[in-house]
């Protein structure tokens, strides 16, 4: 008897589902363009909030209605991501975007299954080698933003030196990184080079946490750097751990992903971030007009993909704003190259050749010559960063592969 009842329940559920199916078909017919977004977390993570805000801004600006934009939040980096992407394709999306590095293989799998849908993936590395026509990678030349943030840090160090608070030799910065991974290495190296361009005696220590988001670990790493007498801290990890540690210790902080001024009014200097709205507009307009989307897309200041937040005048050195404007103009014109080989050495030597691991493979083979015309060509052979050298002046306290 119990079994009959269970069977009945299942039958009722099936009937209900069939009804829903037929009810659904009618509603979705009228809108012709649709875009679906896949996010790793929701707005509680600074990383995802940055994407969510950009997606909302871009779709609003292009006049898409709410029915035409689907958000899937809290999608893990696993088979669920493939299912989410396929479900978005089933729902009639013309473009599907995923925001986390680990989503890549699953988005690629969906791309192969749905050739008529464009799949775009931020921070990924395989679009240029996979040659799947409807699969695309994107990044921004955030290293240029970090370089500017580094200039702001260097000027702060100069101010401390001039005020007699530290000697030039004591100008040591600390950096909290997530993993010993090219994206992080490229980020802290450009930050360091920015600082060095105005404060030649600067050195830097890097502590890795082994996690993209771990508030306690990031705070602990920052505290360790502070106890090593670092006089300024920056970070590449997504929580408030490092900024909070700096605010508690009264040590200036250069932030990432967005302003932390509200929480850290006495120590926040400036923050660089990627604005994804230009990319979202680009993929939507390309898809609507049947134009091809670039396999690897990487833009910077010019189209507004890389941005600096407002400078906190209470903490930043005098003249920071003007100096950053000037350097930004020079970066855009090409007068300054962030990874100019004249400005850094590896084991005491200037480089004139470096094979970078641009193509993703399990053996980490170095496959592409990245130095030419006197500088390291970052983000040109694929959108995601691949600068992975440890240059002189930077000391790694640990490594997290």
């Amino acid at each position: 008897m119990k079994k009959i009842l269970s069977l009945l329940l299942v039958a009722v559920m099936c009937v209900a589902s069939v009804c829903m199916l037929s009810a659904c078909g009618g509603e979705q017919a009228d809108s012709d363009f649709k875009i679906g977004f896949i996010f790793l977390h929701d707005e509680n993570s600074t990383y995802d909030k940055n994407f969510l805000d950009a997606a909302q801004a871009a779709t609003k600006e292009l006049g898409l209605s709410e029915d035409q934009v689907i958000f899937k939040t809290n999608v893990p980096e696993g088979n669920e991501c493939y299912e989410a992407a396929a479900d978005l394709a089933d729902q009639g999306c013309d473009v599907v975007f995923a925001n986390s590095f680990g989503h890549e293989p699953y988005v690629l799998k969906a791309a192969k299954e749905f050739p008529e849908v464009e799949f775009c993936h931020a921070t990924g590395t395989t679009a240029h080698t996979e040659n799947v026509k409807n699969f695309h990678n994107a990044f921004a030349s955030i290293y240029e933003g970090r370089y500017l943030a580094g200039i702001a840090a260097g000027m702060k160090l100069n101010e401390m030196i001039e005020a007699g608070k530290i000697t030039p030799d004591q100008a040591k910065m600390g950096y909290v990184g997530a993993f010993t991974y090219a994206e992080v290495i490229s980020g802290y190296t450009s930050f360091y080079l920015g600082a060095k361009s105005v404060c030649p005696s600067v050195t830097m220590e890097v502590q890795f946490t082994g996690s993209w988001y771990d508030e306690a670990l990031e705070k602990e790493a920052a505290t360790k750097l502070l106890s090593n007498k670092c006089v300024l801290i920056s970070q590449h990890a997504d929580s408030m751990g490092a900024p909070t540690a700096c605010e508690n210790a009264g040590v200036p902080n250069v932030s990432y992903n967005g302003s932390t001024k509200d929480a850290c009014p006495n120590t926040f200097i400036v923050s660089s971030r990627i604005d994804w709205a230009p990319y979202f507009k680009y993929i939507i307009e390309s898809a609507q007009n049947d134009k091809e989307i670039a396999a690897d897309w990487c833009e910077g200041f010019e189209v507004g993909s890389v941005k600096l937040t407002e400078i906190n005048e209470n903490v930043a050195a005098e003249g920071t704003k003007e100096a950053l404007e000037e350097a930004k103009a020079k970066l855009i014109s090409g007068e300054i190259k962030v990874f100019d080989t004249n400005n850094f050495t590896v084991e005491g030597k200037k480089l004139d050749s470096y094979m970078a691991d641009v193509d993703t493979d399990p053996k980490y083979e170095k496959d592409t010559e990245a130095i030419a015309d006197g500088y390291f060509h970052e983000s040109e052979y694929r959108s995601a960063p691949y600068f992975d050298m440890t240059i002189d002046g930077i000391k790694l306290l640990n490594s997290m592969f």
């Binding site: 899937k72 893990p76 399990p362």
Partner: protein
Amino acid sequence: MKKINNFLHQSLYVSPFHIAKRDNIVWWKAWIIRIIAVLIALLVCGTITIALTDINPVKMYFTMIDGVVGTPRLVWNMLQNTAILLCISLAVTPAFKMRFWNIGAEGQVLIGGLATAICMIFLGEKLPAPILITLMIISSIVLGAFWALVPAYFKTKFNSNETLFTLMMNYIAIQLVAYFTLEMSVPKGSGTPRVLEYGQLPVLFGQKYLINILIVAVITVIMHIYLKYSKQGYEISVVGESEKTARYIGINVKKVVLRTMAISGAICGIAGFLIVAGTDHSLKSDSAGGRGFTAIMVSWLAKFNPVFMVLTSLLIVFLEKGASKISEVYRLNSSFSDIITGIIIFFIIGAEFFINYKIKVNLKDKEERV
């Protein structure tokens, strides 16, 4: 003395009803109670929805259903998720039936998955698929059983606390998998696991999850027969009811504990195998996704009956998938859908109380008072 008696007497009168255990409830009465509980839950959820948002609750429920069975893909997805959750629930059942608190399913699943992944990486290119997959299954079963046997051995030998022990084994498994993921990540240092090409389970009749579902269906039937009709299954119930009785009638309690935990761990290992080889084709420390703990609830809700477990695991998966559809369609933070599913589960568990106990109104007392 009289005063105290009087006082006691009066204080007894304060409560207008009392709770009594039901001996046996007719099956249809139990189902009426359950259905009423679900209806009340839906009403409460509806009220909260109206109070907090401007969503039409009836529409919201239909959205939920649509999010689970709206397309054939979603139906397969639901069956796949149900199968995995059911598999882990079946795994913990014999242990819980024996009153051995195995909180370590999460770790046993992960370690089974790790065994599978190691075979796929290091032997993948070298062996033909049938041999490779056989090896994957055996190693996941052996490692899963071992992971469960360690706490069971200490329990029987030193009477250590199995709840804490199995829980701690979870953390060891999670860290092992995290270390492995980091070491094997592609590209280097990204912390992202590679996709394992070799040793993926075959696609049957064009449905990639069908083989998972069939394997779990077979395990369900076997577990049902094992628990209900086998001598070992009977021994498990006796040990669970009373260890002393078991000893008195000559059951070797230690042997039963070790054997049952080995079975529990082995099936968890199979679940890990199905996750890595059948669905994810990769492994990371959250591959089990908390299902090792959810399974405990599934198992208890079904009163350790494998057939009912099909329904309870389906219910949990339905609520989970439906909830994420709510946040997708209405652009709500996932916390809201968590509240809704929390309320529904609360009422369903609450219904079991009313099935096991009845509330008697103390009419007689009332009359006396008047």
